[in-house]
């Protein structure tokens, strides 16, 4: 019978997979071994009962198990369960059984078997199934290895991206001496994101607030965010004038980005000493001013998205900021809901919610409270990258 399967007929070289054959009958073990030999699997280990099988599985790199059910000491079902639950191995287990009962076969799968074959054993069948399960296992292993590697790489890239953003202390060191408090929030929808915020020192009384959202998400958007970060470092001479700052970023992005990519941005230069913010907008949602008096307004102004038309002029706007006024800048991840469009928010919804929260939560607690309310949890499970900046004007000097 072993001669039924011919390695030449299958036309391949020997597979070095280590296969454990578990059967209480010596004759059955040697029959299976010779079938496997003939099919091109020459590498075997043997066990005559469940206890012995488990001992081997604990110390040997077994890639495939062919397991009998009815054995002394520990039967095949128990071996299966222990392999999966105690040893936590995902090695394929092929159970051979003389039992024809469908329930019995189902309980083999419940115990953790990968497949069931009937006795008497058919050489071609057992060889084909061994080959199939080995291939499947190896493919899964490859995928898992690949996924682990990608995860590691993404994690490293994510850490790099987060390191672009200033720490709370660095932000406070810029805003605080200039008469303002500033809090920030950033979260990528899927590890890497296309949002970026920056805070620039300008002079003794002024600082710049920059928020940019590169189109798309994920790796491509993140690479573009890195480029913008480098770019804005090089544009320090434009930092005191928002409109020319955005115009300069636009000119660079026009050269840098492919036609279907673009960015939206807000740039504001805050001067608490004179109670004023100069700003320009390129396709970004207009920040909301929450007035000390209790009212609110969305900042006026708009401008073409960045990276599409070279030499675009951006308009310069300004707004008065009184002592106690607050400014909320946010990316579109805050209000757009693509899974449930009817739940998308309007600026008025955000402003109303912010006004409700302010008497309760101000300062560092405000953004977390806002996110908690909008996303029904602290994690901001947004489908898009999410960035928020929250500025409080403390006053003049």
């Amino acid at each position: 019978m072993p001669g039924d399967v011919d390695a030449n007929q299958i036309g391949q070289t020997a597979d070095s997979a280590l296969i454990l054959i578990v059967d209480d009958l010596r004759s059955s073990r040697s029959m299976i071994a010779s079938i496997l030999n003939a099919a091109g699997f020459p590498n075997h280990l043997f066990a005559s009962d469940g206890v012995e099988a488990l001992a081997i599985l604990e110390r040997e790199p077994v890639e495939m198990v062919i397991l009998d059910i009815v054995m002394p000491n520990k039967d095949g079902f128990d071996v299966c369960r222990e392999v999966r639950q105690r040893l936590r191995l995902n090695v394929p287990i092929l159970i051979q059984t003389a039992l024809q009962d469908a329930d019995e076969r189902a309980s083999a799968f419940d115990a953790g078997a990968s497949d069931v074959i009937s006795k008497p054993i058919h050489p071609h069948e057992i060889a084909s199934r061994v080959r199939l399960h080995l291939e499947r296992r190896r493919m899964l292993d490859r995928l898992q290895r690949y996924q682990r590697r990608m995860d590691d790489e993404l994690q490293a890239a994510e850490a790099m991206q987060i390191s672009l953003l200033k720490s709370d202390e660095d932000v406070a060191a810029i805003a605080s001496p200039r008469g303002a408090d500033l809090w920030t929030f950033y979260k990528a929808s899927n590890r890497l994101g296309g949002d970026l915020w920056q805070v620039f020192e300008i002079d003794e009384t002024r600082f710049g607030l920059f928020m940019v959202d590169l189109s798309g998400h994920g790796v491509a958007a993140a690479i573009n965010a890195f480029r913008v970060h480098m770019l804005t470092d090089a544009l320090s001479r434009h930092r005191s004038r928002p409109a020319s700052f955005l115009a300069a970023v636009n000119d660079y992005l026009c050269q840098m980005l492919p036609v279907e990519h673009f960015a939206t941005a807000f740039y504001g230069v805050v001067d608490p000493s004179v109670g004023k913010m100069d700003y320009a907008i390129a396709g970004a949602p207009a920040p909301i001013v929450l007035q000390a008096s209790g009212g609110w307004q969305a900042l006026e102004g708009s401008g073409l998205i960045l990276g599409c038309a070279p030499k675009t002029d951006y308009e310069a706007y300004e707004v008065d900021l009184e002592r106690g006024d607050r400014v909320l800048c946010y990316s579109d991840g805050l209000y757009e809901n693509f899974e449930r469009p009817e739940l998308s928010l309007e600026p008025a919804d955000i402003a109303r919610l912010a006004c409700e929260l302010l008497p309760v939560e101000r300062g560092p607690g405000f953004l977390p409270a806002l996110i908690e309310r909008l996303f029904e949890g602290p994690d901001a499970q947004s489908q898009d990258d999410l960035t928020l900046l929250f500025l409080e004007v403390r006053g003049h000097g």
Binding site: V259, E260, F262, E336, F338, P341
Partner: protein, 100 residues
């Protein structure tokens, strides 16, 4: 996103319904290649049935416009309402693509 292409004598009308997001990249590339290969010199993207559009979707409109320009066709957007109208208003892409 779903779309339907209708070739009239004077123009190609591409009607897009549903939500245009990053996930529709492949389908949109198909639209773009049909635009480039079509006969009429006018292409109308009808967004009357489009509920929402994300930034990647706006990017696809820009790509369609670019391909239309390069193949010597005029591209216009029609049926811009609701969320799409808000995104257009915010992004000012009406400065780049004609909207009727």
């Amino acid at each position: 996103m779903e779309y339907r292409i209708e070739a009239r004598r004077d123009r190609l009308i591409v009607s897009i319904s549903g939500v245009i997001t990053f996930d529709d990249h492949e389908a949109f590339r198909q639209i773009v290649s049909e635009i480039a290969g079509s006969d009429p010199s006018m292409v109308e993207l009808s967004l009357a049935g489009t509920k929402m559009i994300d930034s990647a979707g706006i990017g696809m409109l820009l790509l369609a416009k670019d391909k239309a320009d390069k193949s010597g066709k005029a591209l216009i957007l029609s049926g811009v309402t609701g969320h799409v109208a808000k995104v257009v208003e915010l992004s000012k892409i009406d400065q780049l693509i004609k909207i009727v």
